[in-house]
């Protein structure tokens, strides 16, 4: 009785396995940027070996080209967007294939790279930002390379020794629910000071800077405004004014924020590019952004790309860096990553220009200062606000 049943179970499992692997050999192209051209995969070096069984079969049809690996954070699309199409065009032009390796959120990506420094998982890393830059540079994960593409000096100078190249930037800002303020006959806040004003009591939700990247960026905005000695007074005032703290961005924006989460907080820490995303991904469609941005609260996050030290293909890696800051790729960033391209000459899509806010004089804190104070600041903040 039992043996046939076991056999059936094993057979069923094997069937599922087989049918699924068969299915994914065409849909599972998530791993290779150049998913429509098998020229991308090759007799790859070990660093560029593929991650899904589906690509193993394409690897057999090898050509002479090299495939390199682009290590990125998890909001970078792995396939099927115009960003990936642009990478495929790069492959078509140069014969250099690009595999995308998603390493987790930015912090996890940098920690992994620091552990594997010298024997990296890939050849180029996309997305380390100014809040993690100092740690990445201390761990010597990058091999300096200066692209010949012209980029704004104030961005380039953030990495003084040319270890990394700026690729994009975006702002973390106070967002507010326009409709809520209209309904309640209240002017939206216009500064950090306003948030501590009793008129705005119990209206703000922020993320815990210990666990959230936008939460930490907003904290840095307050450090920039009130100074290393003054931020604690400001946060005491925010606490007294009933600020709500939650763990991460999703909990805040889609849990507590009046507009998107049906919560009871009409002011939230989010991105300068959240309003265009609200418009573009609205269903049913809307004509105007339902949320506004308080420009004077914006903290500037600059993201960088760099060649990973220890790469087997330094020339190809440098060629990819050049491409990533070229207009062809930079022009795709706005609508795929909701950031501003570092290259100032790039024309932005109209819907982005219409709704996104880019702060004129954004707040910033020096990367070295951030890294050397991060843990102490967060401990002190935790004691003060949550203790």
């Amino acid at each position: 009785m039992t043996t046939p049943r076991l056999l059936a179970a094993v057979a069923a499992t094997a069937l599922i396995a087989a049918s699924c692997s068969a299915d994914t050999s065409d849909t599972g192209a998530t791993t290779t940027a150049a998913d429509d051209s098998s020229t991308a995969s090759t007799d790859a070096p070990s660093t560029a070996s593929t991650e899904a069984p589906s690509t193993a079969s394409t690897a057999e049809s090898s050509t002479d080209a090299t495939t390199i690996t682009l290590v990125t954070y998890d909001s970078f699309p792995a396939a099927d967007t115009s960003l990936n199409d642009a990478l495929a065009a790069f492959t078509a032009d140069t014969g250099i294939g690009v595999d995308i390796l998603v390493a987790g959120d930015t912090g996890t990506m940098v920690s992994k790279a620091a552990l594997t420094a010298g024997n990296p998982e890939g050849d180029v890393m996309w997305g380390v930002d100014n809040t993690f830059l100092s740690r990445a540079l201390d761990a010597e994960i990058f091999e300096p390379y200066s692209t010949s593409v012209e980029l704004p000096a104030e961005l380039v100078d953030l990495a003084p020794n040319g270890e990394v190249t700026p690729v994009d930037f975006g702002d973390v800002c106070i967002n507010y629910d326009i409709g809520w303020f209209a309904d309640n006959g209240l002017e939206p806040p216009s500064s950090l000071d306003d948030l501590a004003d009793p008129a705005y009591a119990d209206l703000l939700v922020v993320q815990n800077p210990a666990t959230s990247s936008p939460g930490f960026a907003f904290f840095l905005a307050t450090v920039d405004e009130y100074g290393e000695d003054g931020w604690s007074d400001y946060w005491t005032a925010l606490s007294d004014n009933g600020v709500a703290v939650v763990d991460g961005w999703t909990d805040a924006y889609y849990g507590d924020f009046t507009w998107a989460g049906g919560g009871d907080r009409p002011i939230v820490v989010s991105y300068g590019s959240s309003p265009p995303a609200e418009v573009l991904f609205a269903d049913p469609p809307v004509d105007t952004a339902p949320t506004g941005v308080v420009e004077s609260t914006c903290f500037r996050q600059v993201e960088f790309v760099g060649v990973l030290a220890g790469t087997d293909a330094p020339d190809e890696a440098q060629a990819l860096v050049d491409f990533l800051v070229s207009d062809a790729f930079q022009s795709e960033l706005a609508l795929n990553l909701f950031v501003y391209p570092a290259a100032p000459t790039v024309e932005l899509p109209q819907e982005f220009v219409d709704y996104a806010v880019v702060a004129e004089s954004p707040r910033s804190v020096d990367p070295t200062t951030i890294e050397s104070n991060r843990e102490a600041w967060i401990d002190e903040w935790t004691e003060l606000v949550l203790g």
Partner: protein, 537 residues
């Protein structure tokens, strides 16, 4: 029990060694070695000293411990009621109920956490109380499946005898049924304790701001602060605590094991009117509890701040949301990839866990060690295991860190402790007299073992396979550390979608979560249909 008799009938030592070889090798290769490498390469005496000296370490450890104790107790108390129902009665919708309970177990934390927050009164939102409620909701399935696997085969004659002698149902439960179930209860309690002690997502979503378990603190140190030595030191603290707890429950479990004449599955339809209304009441209550998060999720997949929407479902083809605008997440590929990984992970987990269970019941002390060893992976932060694998398998001949199969291997390591727990109590309960009888009739020990023990292991093995599949489908921590292309599995695709601004993307995330729940529920129903109909032996 008759230990001498059991010893005579134990399989030969070479067989035990052979059985233990695969699980031991897998554990050493994919767990002990990577973790050891990470510790030796990053950990120094000063990091350990710093960690122990820090006041927050003690606070975090204490909080982690007591919320796990409370959560485990509450889960057992709440979970035993549906476990009894499902184990003892045949009724309409039984399979669906089991499917729904298990589906909740694999739902993304964000989804269940959000539902808990939506249902709980505001006064206990984001509190330890909310954490315990969410833990109970998640882990009912563990109780129902692990305890149920033994319960449904407990002979009914003992409780019938008790009833004849005048014991009320509660007395019978307390003095007859629960003592017989003790090994399974203990195995379940230790599994739930480990799961809630190492809780990560629930703490972050429904806990009060700043509430931290050791697991959360390990993640924060390793990834947000870049303090890998500190994370390693905390991992060791966590392993020490859980190692002690597991060793203690392992000892107790052996002591409490009674051999039974396990019956074929004893489910029947409720007979009296009172029985019928009891079954209906418990069934409906359980269904209501587990349906809350599922309903909340389905509703969210049709919601947008401006009204109802179907875009979450109609745009699921991975195509353009607006001209030129695509998300880069292909849900169909995520479903097939999830199933493919789950199939492999189930295969690995059942192979490793099945062999281990046989070895554990056959050997005495060494078996206990193997049991604890195989539980350690779920007692260890996925972040540290992931980082360990990264720096261990980075040079030929073991340059495996880019291999796709690391994902199902990681998921299997997470599932094996549950496979073992689903099988071992039933194996231990096999009456040694049966084997003795076989020997008396002239069977060699290995033959007696093959013909007596193996046939009784199939049902728990299949239940274990279902559980392993479900765990793999819902696994997030290890998968996100080991996967490389970003949106391989459903839980990861869901997390990505829910982490972005935009009504359509949110609705899509919840639509994918609904699909995950549906697929899991269906698998459970199929597994139950395939194994539950006929009593065997």
């Amino acid at each position: 029990m008759d230990r001498a008799g059991a010893r005579v009938n134990r399989p030969p030592a070479w067989l035990v060694a052979a059985l233990a070889a695969v699980p031991t090798t897998a554990l050493a290769l994919f767990y002990l070695w990577p973790l050891g490498t990470l510790f030796t390469e990053t950990l120094g005496a000063d990091a350990v000293a710093d960690t122990l000296r820090r006041a927050t370490t003690r606070e975090v450890l204490w909080f982690t411990f007591w919320q796990a104790v409370a959560s485990t107790g509450a889960t057992l108390v709440v979970g035993l009621i549906p476990a009894w129902l499902v184990a003892r009665y045949e009724f309409r919708g039984r399979g669906s109920l089991l499917g729904a309970v298990t589906a909740v177990f694999v739902l993304p934390t964000v989804v269940v956490g959000g539902a808990v927050l939506a249902v709980l009164p505001a006064s206990i939102e984001r509190s330890t109380c909310a954490i315990i409620v969410a833990h109970v909701l998640f882990n009912i399935a563990v109780v129902v499946r692990l305890v149920g696997a033994l319960w449904e085969r407990l002979p009914t004659d003992l409780s019938a005898a008790a009833a004849t002698l005048g014991a009320g149902p509660l007395d019978t439960m307390r003095h007859v049924t629960l003592p017989l179930l003790r090994p399974a209860l203990l195995a379940t309690a230790s599994a739930v304790f480990v799961l809630t002690f190492t809780s990560f997502g629930v703490i972050r979503v429904v806990g009060a701001p700043g509430t931290r378990t050791i697991e959360v603190e390990v993640w924060r140190r390793a990834t947000q602060l870049g303090d890998i030595p500190g994370a390693s030191a905390l991992t060791i603290v966590q392993l020490l605590v859980l190692g002690l707890v597991l060793a203690a429950t392992g000892l107790l479990q052996r002591r409490w094991t009674t051999s039974l004449d396990l019956a074929p599955t004893h489910r029947r339809r409720p007979r009296t009117r009172r029985e019928r209304s009891l079954v209906t009441a418990i069934g409906l209550t359980t269904a209501a509890v587990v349906i809350v998060p599922i309903a909340a999720m389905v509703i969210a997949s049709f919601s947008s701040p401006t009204g109802w929407t179907t875009a979450g479902w109609t745009d699921l083809d991975g195509g353009e949301i607006r001209p030129g605008l695509r998300v880069g997440i292909d849900p169909v590929a995520a479903v097939t990839a999830s199933l493919r990984f789950a199939a492999w992970a189930t295969l690995f987990a059942v192979l490793i866990g099945g062999l281990a269970s046989l070895a554990i019941t056959a050997a005495q002390r060494a078996g206990r060690l193997l049991d604890i060893g195989l539980t350690l992976p779920i007692a260890t932060s996925a972040v540290t295991i992931g980082l360990g694998l990264l720096i261990t398998f980075d040079t030929p001949p073991v340059d495996w860190r880019a291999e796709w199969w690391l994902v199902p291997v990681g998921q299997a390591l997470v599932a094996v402790p549950f496979v073992v727990r689903a099988i071992v109590p039933s194996l231990r309960a096999i009456d040694p007299q049966l084997r003795a009888a076989a020997s008396t009739l002239g069977a060699a020990p290995s033959r007696a073992w093959r013909e007596v023990v193996l046939p009784m292991a199939w049902r728990p093995l299949l239940a274990a396979a279902g559980l392993a599949g479900a765990i793999s489908l819902g696994e997030f921590g290890a998968t996100s550390m080991l996967s490389r292309s970003g949106n391989e599995t459903l839980p990861i695709a869901i997390e990505r979608l829910l982490g972005r601004t935009g009504a359509t993307l949110q609705a899509q995330g919840y639509a994918l979560a609904s699909i995950l729940a549906l697929v899991t529920g269906l698998l459970m129903i199929i597994a139950e249909r395939g194994t539950g109909r006929t009593g065997e032996r």
